[in-house]
Symmetry: C2
Subunit: 292 residues, 2 copies
Amino acid sequence: MTLRHYQIFVAVCDAMNMTAAAESLFMSQPAVSQAIAELEKNYEVRLFERLSRKLYLTEAGEKLLGYARHMLRMNDDVEKDMKLLRESGTIRLGASVTVGAYVLPRLVSAFKEENRRTAVRVVEDNTRQIEHLIMTDQLDFGIVEGDTVSPDIVVHPLMDDELTLVCARTHRFAGLSAVMPEELEKEDFIVREKGSGTRKTFEDTMALNGLSWREAWTCNNADTIRAAVAAGLGVSVISARAVARDAASGLLCALPVKALQFRRTFKIVYHKNKFLTVPMRKFMELCMKSRA
Amino acid sequence: MTLRHYQIFVAVCDAMNMTAAAESLFMSQPAVSQAIAELEKNYEVRLFERLSRKLYLTEAGEKLLGYARHMLRMNDDVEKDMKLLRESGTIRLGASVTVGAYVLPRLVSAFKEENRRTAVRVVEDNTRQIEHLIMTDQLDFGIVEGDTVSPDIVVHPLMDDELTLVCARTHRFAGLSAVMPEELEKEDFIVREKGSGTRKTFEDTMALNGLSWREAWTCNNADTIRAAVAAGLGVSVISARAVARDAASGLLCALPVKALQFRRTFKIVYHKNKFLTVPMRKFMELCMKSRA
DNA sequence: TACATTTACGGTCTTCGTAATAATG
DNA sequence: CATTATTACGAAGACCGTAAATGTA
């Protein structure tokens, strides 16, 4: 028996008259009659007594009616829920550390402003981990700074991120319009841990320019770095976004290195077979539009 | 979308693998694939992510799964309930007064003995009312003493019922082996009300035999009649079944009238289009078997 | 290559319409 | 005779099978 049978049955119960039920369902009366007959045959019960051109619902009919109404109601609810999910399902978003700290909060809150019914869940971890979560559909997509490995990952460059040299306001560099690259070799560096994208960009760029450097302090977050730099324990090269506020307030100095740029790109990444829902695409569009 | 779609969907969720689901459903794998595709198309949501030969249930899939399981469960329950009702639905039984008081209790309790799951509801009223309730499917069938009117009522004679003359043990009739019909005309009669089947049988038989009679007391129940007769207030003609116990205990005397019988028939009656369930037929068979 | 899913296509059963028949008031 | 339900039958479509194609490990 199909939901259609139940639907017809309920219509007949509501009308207690097959002809009227057929009309309400915009179908022929014999089709209704047949559907009821099929139900009765299938369950081997009589659903209606037909006495003197009138229909009377039997005990079995009464019982079935309860179930049928419930099932049809559920089916309608499915429709509604699917529609809702189609337009506002949860977004499971991955972010690598720098992105998560300095880019995403702004984007997520802007998105939520315009899509209040869509929940956004963010997982922050290193690029490698984010990639794995995407490959196993534990995340819908990610915004990362590092490079992905799998050829099944689609990569959309989102925005460039510039690392900048920072020092304390009391440091000898403070006030210079630019620092000569060789000067860096004389400094103590406070750096992120191995495996960090920031660290990798810094190392790669230094190596590319034939510059050596001294590691004075290693830590896994930008807050500690800013504090240590401000305290004059050394200099660092971290995302300009991470020090924008402190540079403006004068707590730290951010300054360029002559003829040398620490650059990387933030990218939106997802599995090439991933089905992107409307809210997911909306979020991505918002990211692309708001790249600064 | 049909229940079949949901059934297939649930199987795929259970296996998280279309091929295995197809096997468990004893159907081809493409058919499963198609059912899922139809669901996804219909609701315009993706139910599974297909990443690297693996299936992952989406948020929408998760939601749908909950509904689908519920609906399928209900559908199974319908099956069970219908089966139960088929074999043990309620019996709505009508009985006219004498039948209800002196015949039915025995039959119903005998029936319940062997059909514990079948509920029996009895409505006791006069034949005319019982017939109306049957015509409007408020009763499944009836056992009545009177005659039905509608040509749509099927009538099965069930058992003869003999009315007997009763008097007090101190009455002048007491001890006689038979009473001469003419003697009746000298007695005071305690009778049932007009409209009663018992009264009608009595009146008809008396009239048929050219006998007149005196009405001393009218009441609508056999208990009062027995009490009044026992008190020597008159004689009566009522169902032998109603006085069997009192006659045996010597409280009353039941005796034949020479060459005269007060007879009527109890009948099983139902609408000719009435669908008789298994328990209903069982009850009728029990009635026919146990006719005394 | 081997395995899983999707696409293509065709046969069979279902569903529903029209028309005819039966039953009822 | 008008109204309602059932039966009969045929066309359109759904369902599911086989075969081939596609995509991955």
